[in-house]
Symmetry: D4
């Protein structure tokens, strides 16, 4: 069963987030991937996000570069945790998407992580710790993973 | 008749943009003011913006602070010129809203001006030059205004 | 029963986070407040954090200024969600604590929000959405709160 | 008939803006290209810009790097919309030209877009939406283009 | 006889540069003050600057805030030394005017100093060292001034 | 006998600090290298650092990238001099680790040097000047080294 | 007997560093204060610094704002530890002095701390840990001080 | 006869400034090149700079990277114009050397230009305009050069 929805602002952002999919698989967390821009697919994005809770999705990971409105817009539609992953673009090395994701107005929470592939890995870990609050087996897998990391 | 729609992300932003309303009045340009957040009033914002062209509005001035998704979201709904005015917030002196407004993805044009009240004045002037392309009297008023400025 | 632990790096940081305690009360979420510096109370911090899961705490909100090692250190001790709130200091307007909290190495997830009191409000909302995944009444309260915000 | 004038500060800037010419062609908008520096060709630039309105040019797209005085100087000569495209230079990745273009004094409006080739694409779209206010066919072409973008 | 021309972009900038006038008087250097904006008084600025060499002016000190095109535009008209003093504006604490003045294209030299009143003092000293290359009495006055500074 | 402990946050940071080991050898200063992350090896790090003074270690050089909590955490455990070397990571060119190392709270001293390999060289020199306060031969070696540098 | 020399670039910097003198007194460390600018008192500074080692001074704390050449120049004259404290100036909130102090070339070590009064406190602590390497009583005082801090 | 002294902080900086030597030759301006670091060759630098005026040198161009104390130290020794050229280093793309050169204290004037090879070209032009105040032939050469530039 799918627990996590990963939304990408653009297909060209895929290489920055692929590592996260492998980690989701390692954690045996079901997920689905959608490519929907906050600016180019507004209606479809709204419809998709509004349906997530009913379908059992528990956490959204929204990844976007540039002006990065995606995570905030997603958060405005639902009341489940939304994690925002800022992605690199050419001009400002991710500081643009980072600030766009961090500077949410009061009332629209987004959990920000760092830029690019490292951010995606930690976004998945964050989502996993949230799911693990009611999933002992997942918690065990997270602890094992973090044990392995210690010896790297 | 109203030609310009000014949309504000939050009522608390009013003091930063008031100077613009006086200039719109000086230019005898009809306008309307709406306070609608891209994150808190998504449905209402969409409905409002989608109806603008039909009602004869020709330019939108969208003003927002922080993550400032408003101008980009407005631009994604319509094909008339959208001017984005970044506003000051406490944390980053407007650099956050500035980057959010500037870093639009290809295909979603927003005309950015500088932060705060100076930006609003120039946003109004920019809107006026657009309207004046088909309004000789307004063009004359703009030229008179710019003549006055020269002696300041 | 306490579900959330709020850890502050320094007593002097209290004014920046007080608004969050009121929101936690509004949401009827039990919480406890600890003042423990990552640098000045390392042993006590470790002991405290290591005991959190067993005591039923489900989310930690760690708030710190300057070098802001607190959220990362907390995250290194446990596998429940850790939210980091960067606080303002004099020198760099929070950009220092913001980067310290965001730039976690892979494997140590921290959910960052913006600087200061706005960040604290959204940290509480984020924590609430996490708890609400298994608490229908809380979810209803969050939705009511967000409905109220829309009319502000 | 030419509706748009594209002015470039330097021939070496051409690679950053070429994509815009293709889009102007797609939109069937007549344009002309001039290479004139605000610092090195002041007299010629003034003569050229002062003659634009009379010749039917309706929007200027001024592109410049480094100190990027060009868009502001152009705007000081005429009362039609001026769009400024900041270009990359080696030292500061476009933040220099960006600030120069954004920080216009009150009374000298310039519509800024982002740095480099993405900025040029959106500058053309912005110019197109302005022209489309009195050109139904162009408006249809813009809508078609934006429809295509949605599926990218 | 006047040797130095001080050009100010706006009357409102006067408080930031006044200290320089006192130092010019201390050095017994004749100077004139003009308030001419690069954007609002282009024709008058050009006429004025083009006449400077013939009238015996040997150094120009051009002071401007925001986009600060003034020093570069002045330098483009003449071949005597031009010193640029960036001034503070609200939004970016002078980093905008600083970059605009520093990032001159090759071939348009401007001597930049720091922002605001400290910059103006050093601009005057710089101009004085230039004039002193052919004025022994002025050189003695500069050395005396610098001797006094050492004991401050 | 070992006088200096070099602690690295991650094995992948080795290439940035290798030059320092050669200089330590040139100075005939005994040292040991440990790879211990402040986040991934907290218990082991504490045990190791707490034992340093007793074993005769007199200076610690702690090198870390990203959030760079390592030098501060080390300094919180001991009362011998701790030098912090910020390392480059992809996202922010070391400005993240630099600020994390510099912005220590009052009471937790860390001696910061610049980013990467240049910082490591100067960290070693700094450590050497500290040891040389009670080691005349080492002082002579430092002076010889600095004499050689003058002719480079 | 004086063990530490505190050098200040300008008398006006005193308020930013006063807290450090109280801490030096608490630690019973003898020190002397000199006000000598790297730019305005070059000869005197050189003479003074070159005599420090012979007179038994073991650590220099050099404090300066703006371009902050002082700590580096001091370090170029001697081979005892030099700690650099960047001070606030108006324009860039200490980022200017911070970078000037951090970006030492290889071979000229300076131990940097943060900007202003917090930096001065940690500079004193750092100096104290250096002196304490051969002073057991001082080490005890430092440990007591740090114990007190823990309960703040 | 040599009129200009070019001082370089390090031999490794040569590639960034070579273009300036060709321009000096084109202008038929006699110059000499010295490689002297403000930190590594303090005594020799002082002796050299103090002798410049007597030998007929009229302008100094001082080029340095990193902390870039060189131009300010040179300016502190003499009362002829000093132009500072900030050079690129790895860590901060010249923003470090730029701020060090710009942030001179009152009384120590340095004429700053932009970073790297473009800065060097304009430094030479600036020096040439200074020399040309009393050299008609050089003025003619400068005007010819700038005429050529206009057609680039």
């Amino acid at each position: 069963m799918k627990k996590i929805s990963v939304i990408l602002g653009s297909k060209s952002d895929l290489p920055q987030v692929e590592g996260g999919f492998m980690l989701l698989d390692d954690f045996k967390i079901g997920y689905e991937l959608k490519i929907l821009s906050a600016h180019r697919n507004t209606a479809e994005l709204k419809r998709y996000v509004k349906g997530l809770e009913r379908r059992g999705i528990r956490v959204v990971i929204a990844c976007a570069g540039l002006s990065a409105a995606l995570p905030g817009v997603v958060s405005s539609y639902i009341s489940i945790p939304v994690i925002g992953v800022p992605l690199y673009s050419k001009a400002f090395k991710g500081i643009d998407s980072l600030l766009s994701i961090l500077q949410m107005p009061k009332g629209i929470p987004v959990a920000a992580v760092t830029v690019g592939s490292s951010g995606m890995i930690n976004a998945v870990l964050l989502a996993a710790t949230i799911l693990a609050l009611s999933d002992r087996k997942l918690k065990a897998r997270i602890k094992r993973y973090r044990g392995v990391i210690k010896n790297k």
